[in-house]
């Protein structure tokens, strides 16, 4: 082909506007007479709401729960047995259950004026004891968030698959492992502009959203509007990562206000709101036991996992997606015969936990891979030897694992072999025997995972949350000048789909990529879709675009055959033209004929023309399984606790890569976020439920100097069930770094007998681990011989 199709590392079409600073984000939207909104937010984590006093001069510009007649709270139910339902108020009534919860909406000519008004509103709050610790939250004497529940547990799950059979294993290691609460940090925060279109009788809500159609459904339901009365426009989005998949109370407030106030309204989240009231994620706790034979063969995994779900079940992913997923994906890429897992999704007085790139996978990978290294140390084996013993082997593929995940394809051991081959393991082991001149300790650590992506109806129907993906639809439409429009309901905000979906269409039709336009981010113009989440867009939207453009090819061949005076079955489409036995006609000429010279077409022409909307599902919708092996080499300063990443290798298999350069970019970005989870990011709360980080001076993110360039190596095992053999891999880069770096740190600390089991691995935690080891075992352990 012309080098623009599937597999080409094409430069991104969207970069022209982004690199010139010409992206159009919610914050760039200016509508005439638009006013700004600021919110009165709860300063307390848990309190009864008493009187709210509004100064008389601001009465018309301040709105409280009592004003929002007919507005329903946000309810995201899971169909899993025993799930307890929370109602997230749009504006607080009766109680507040987290710091930052909305109490009143204030409208001003500017944001500053709106903040002045907000500062003038007085709220009586009767403070209640706050629940800030997810483990303590389950104790019987603890304060209750949702009193009628009787406890603080959204959902408890339990699975026991022949656990008892493992109890006689000679090796048993138990660890308590946890990951900190984080606040995912897209460069652009949330923001919404809302206006009522009188001509169309429609609420138009501009909001950076990964899932505009889901937001429309949820918003319409809360506001009591028909869905035809709501249009969601998601313009350019400065990073989503999960945060922009969520329906926020702020969206509903503005949608309610825009119907009544006679002018457009805007709320732009500031960084303090984002950090303290919005984007919480990731807080997991594991008590995990691995049973193994002396040769490293895993006999079973037994785990109790707790997820701090925060105060409310957020829409649409619910409060228990994390913990319920933990139970199903904890076995990782390994094959072992016994498994038991109990999970709790616990309510606390914190922001609702939201899905962040990698969702439960990052925590699961950290817990499992750290405990496997503990097995290796116990057995006296190299960590990679333990993995090799237990990874699902290529000849087992496709493989249904112990929790009935269907691993579609791949060679997991080969990924690990390659990753190890990229480093000089013997050299590192030799180096560890020599004291370094700067006193630092060297360690090497690895992590292997597989990532279920693009999982569809059969998986999500089981979770029973408000959003179940079905067929993914795309519209393909040729234009009279021979160009092509693609319309998709997913949203591209870093995934580069304006380029990659054009590449897919080019692969089928041969139309030059610069003549192909992707329309996305507007419910008015795109087919319904659950949107961009779960590493699904390349598989689902890519498959849909391939399906729709194949239909365009069929239709074009019909018209082309007529113009070539031959039968449709005697023509072929190649390089943007239809070829018959005696000549060819370009797609451009075919489009021109259909749209502008219909008199040249016979009565029997297919009336569908050159436009098609078709749905797509993979042959199996249980998900693709991309996978990777990560190997980190670090230096740890035992005096200051400082950790430096010396080298990082990623060997990854995402099936067929539509655009390898874009895939590299996805991995780099995820890797940077993984380093954040591993070493920096931490959203702490004090005992009264106050968030302790409200700026990026308190909430540390890795910057360019903290993110070394990883060395990437791709394998390409085609997925058996998807178009082109593509696998979803958008989240993978963020999954393994905490585990690989954590294992490397523990490898480095091994001579000191110290082990670190909590992320982020801060200097303080490193030093605390060293001190704990000194107290426990004064005799240093030997490093690897």
């Amino acid at each position: 082909m012309s080098g623009q199709g599937v597999g080409a590392s094409l430069a991104r079409k969207e970069d022209d506007r982004f690199l010139r600073g010409r992206g159009q984000f919610v914050g760039d939207i200016r509508l005439a007479s638009m006013k700004d909104v600021a919110f009165v937010r709860s300063p307390l984590a848990h309190a009864r709401v008493g009187e709210i006093r509004i100064p008389p001069e601001h009465r018309g510009n301040v709105f409280i729960a009592a004003d929002l007649q007919g507005v329903k709270p946000i309810v995201a139910v899971s169909g899993l047995t025993g799930f307890k339902v929370s109602e997230q108020p749009v504006l607080a009534y009766e109680k507040v259950r987290q710091v930052g919860e909305l109490i009143a909406m204030c409208v001003g000519r500017t944001r500053a004026e709106a903040e002045d008004i907000a500062a003038s509103v007085e709220v009586d709050l009767d403070e209640l004891p706050a629940v800030h610790d997810m483990l303590a939250a389950r104790r019987p004497d603890t304060a209750l968030l949702h009193e009628h529940w009787g406890d603080n547990v959204f959902l408890e799950t339990f699975v026991d698959l022949n656990m008892e059979a493992a109890f006689d294993a000679p090796i048993k290691v138990t660890r308590e492992i946890s990951t900190a609460r984080q606040s995912m940090a897209p460069m652009e925060g949330r923001g919404t502009v809302a206006t009522w279109d009188h001509r169309l009788g429609q609420l138009v809500l501009y909001t950076g959203s990964q899932m505009p159609h889901i937001v429309r459904t949820g918003l319409a339901e809360c506001l009591g509007l028909d869905q035809t009365q709501v249009r969601i426009v998601s313009p350019d989005v400065g990073g989503g990562f999960g945060y922009k998949g969520i329906l926020l109370p702020e969206d509903i407030c503005l949608g309610w206000l825009a119907q009544r106030c006679g002018h457009p309204v805007r709320w732009l989240e500031d960084r303090r709101e984002h950090l303290t009231a919005g984007a919480n994620c990731r807080e997991h706790h594991y008590r995990i036991t691995a049973y193994a034979d002396r040769d490293g063969t895993l006999r079973g995994i037994d785990c109790e996992a707790t997820v701090d779900s925060g105060a409310y079940s957020s829409y649409p992913f619910s409060a228990c997606l994390e913990a319920a997923q933990v139970a199903s994906i904890l076995p990782g890429p390994y094959d072992f015969p016994s498994y038991r897992c109990r999970t709790w999704s616990v309510a606390t007085n914190k922001c609702p936990i939201l899905p962040y790139r990698g969702v439960a996978r990052t925590g699961v990978c950290y817990a499992l891979e750290l405990v496997l290294d503990a097995v290796a140390r116990e057995a006296g084996l190299e960590p990679y030897e333990v993995r090799m013993k237990n990874l699902v082997r290529p000849e087992q593929m496709p493989f249904d694992n112990i929790t009935r995940k269907h691993f579609d394809s791949g060679d997991y051991p080969e990924a690990l072999r390659r990753a190890i081959a990229h480093i000089d393991l013997d050299g590192i082991r030799a180096r560890q025997q020599q004291p370094a001149p700067d006193g630092r300790l060297i360690g090497v650590g690895l992590a292997v995972y597989c990532e279920q992506g693009a999982h569809g109806t059969s998986v999500y129907a089981g979770w029973g949350i408000p959003m179940v993906p079905g067929h993914e639809q795309a519209t393909a439409r040729m234009t009279p000048d021979g160009g092509l429009e693609l319309r998709v309901g997913v949203h591209s905000h870093g995934q580069s789909m304006e380029t990659t979906l054009a590449q897919v269409a080019h692969e089928i039709l041969g139309i030059p990529v610069d003549k192909i336009k992707l329309v996305h981010g507007d419910t008015e113009y795109t087919p319904y879709s659950t949107g961009s989440w779960g590493s699904r867009c390349a598989v689902m939207a890519g498959g849909a675009v391939a399906t729709a453009t194949k239909e365009i090819a069929r239709l074009a061949k019909g018209i082309g055959a007529h113009l070539l005076q031959t039968d449709p079955e005697k023509v072929e489409l190649a390089n943007g033209a239809v070829y018959g036995p005696n000549g060819s006609v370009t797609l451009k000429e075919i489009a021109h004929t259909w749209y502008r010279r219909p008199q040249d077409l016979p009565a029997s022409v297919d009336p569908r023309g050159l436009e098609a909307t078709i749905g797509y599902k993979p042959v199996r919708d249980s998900g693709t399984f991309s996978y990777a092996a990560h190997v980190a080499t670090v230096a740890v300063d035992p005096e200051t606790g400082d950790i430096e990443i010396l080298d990082y290798v990623i060997v990854e298999d995402g099936g067929k890569l539509i655009n390898p350069m874009v895939v590299d970019g996805q991995i780099y970005g995820g890797f940077a976020q993984g380093i954040g989870t591993a070493l920096y990011e931490e959203m702490n709360y004090d005992a009264s439920g106050q968030p302790l980080a409200s700026t990026f001076a308190d909430y540390l993110l890795p910057g360019p100097t903290e993110v070394p360039a990883p060395r990437l190596d791709h394998m390409e095992t085609l997925a058996p069930y998807t178009e082109f053999g593509v696998k979803g891999l958008g989240e993978g880069g963020a999954i393994a770094p905490p585990a690989a770096i954590g294992n490397a740190v523990n490898d480095a600390l091994r001579p000191l007998g110290a082990e670190l089991l909590h992320s982020p691995m801060t200097p303080r935690r490193v030093l605390e681990a060293i001190q704990a080891a000194k107290r426990k075992a004064p005799v240093p352990q030997k490093a690897f011989a």
Partner: protein, 275 residues
């Protein structure tokens, strides 16, 4: 995160500025580079009625080299020092420290006087200036007074600034040709405020040996005769235990915190020794 309404004045001479600063009928805040005050205004942690911008006052940007010292106006920026627009009398100490402050964008605007007056213990200037024996000059309604840089900081975010006073200049003594210095900052990422700072100066000709443990919860710990920490002055003879008990006495109660601070000082001293 938008500031409250405030009035703004940008006087061009010092007397006009002092008149505005001395107006006790309203809440007045002085602003220079705005690198700390700007965010604090936006977060409404500070809600002044009048903001006096002193960056148009030429006298506060002046630099004067004297035989025994350099005198810098309070509005000299970190970048002025980094780029050599301020004559270096410190054998490279000030430019080197300036280069490590936050990011270049901050250094372009942030000022040495603003940093000292903001009195954040984890900032760089307070620690290195204390080690170098620098002094600050204040001017107010009752004239001028001068005090040691470390004494200007009363505690975290609290400078010894009396009503109506402005910090006008910083005087840094000239080091002897044989003087050696070391500075070591421990922070979690590039550009971040420090978690521990060690600063050290030995200038035998002037009989000076000073050590500073900085980026504590409060004022830096200044050891005006550091010989007690140095053993016999040989590399590696640093007395960690003495430094540790010194830090403990000065209020660094957390042992891990203390360990990091002592490490920073030892590394600063080692750097001075290898110079």
């Amino acid at each position: 995160m938008k500031p409250v309404n405030f009035d703004y004045a940008r006087p061009v001479d010092l007397d006009a500025a002092l008149a505005l600063v001395g107006d006790d009928s309203r809440a007045v805040k002085v602003i220079a580079g705005s690198q700390s005050l700007g965010p604090m205004l936006n977060m409404r942690l500070v809600q002044p009625e009048l903001l006096v911008d002193i960056t148009a006052i030429e006298a506060l940007k002046r630099v004067e080299e004297r035989p025994g010292a350099v005198v810098m106006g309070a509005c000299v920026t970190h970048a002025d020092i980094e780029d050599g627009r301020v004559p270096d009398v410190t054998r490279g100490a000030l430019p080197a420290v300036a280069r490590g402050i936050a990011y270049r964008a901050v250094r372009n605007r942030g000022t040495i006087g603003g940093s000292l007056t903001h009195a954040d213990p984890s900032a760089d200037w307070i620690s290195i200036l204390a080690a170098l024996g620098a002094r600050v000059t204040l001017r107010g309604p009752s004239g001028e007074r001068e005090l040691a840089a470390e004494d200007y900081m009363l505690g975290a975010l609290e400078a010894d600034l009396r009503p109506g006073e402005l910090l006008v200049s910083v005087t840094v003594p000239r080091l002897s040709p044989s003087a050696r210095w070391g500075y070591h900052k421990i922070c979690r990422k590039t550009g971040e405020f420090a978690h521990a700072i060690g600063a050290f100066l030995v200038d035998p000709e002037r009989a000076v040996s000073r050590a500073v443990i900085g980026a504590t919860e409060s004022r830096p710990i200044v050891v005006s005769d550091a010989r007690q920490l140095l053993g016999e002055g040989r590399p590696g003879a640093f007395d960690s235990e003495a430094a540790d008990s010194l830090a403990a006495t000065a209020g660094l109660v957390d042992p891990i915190d203390r360990q990091i601070h002592v490490a920073a000082l030892r590394r600063a001293i080692e750097r001075a020794q290898v110079q």
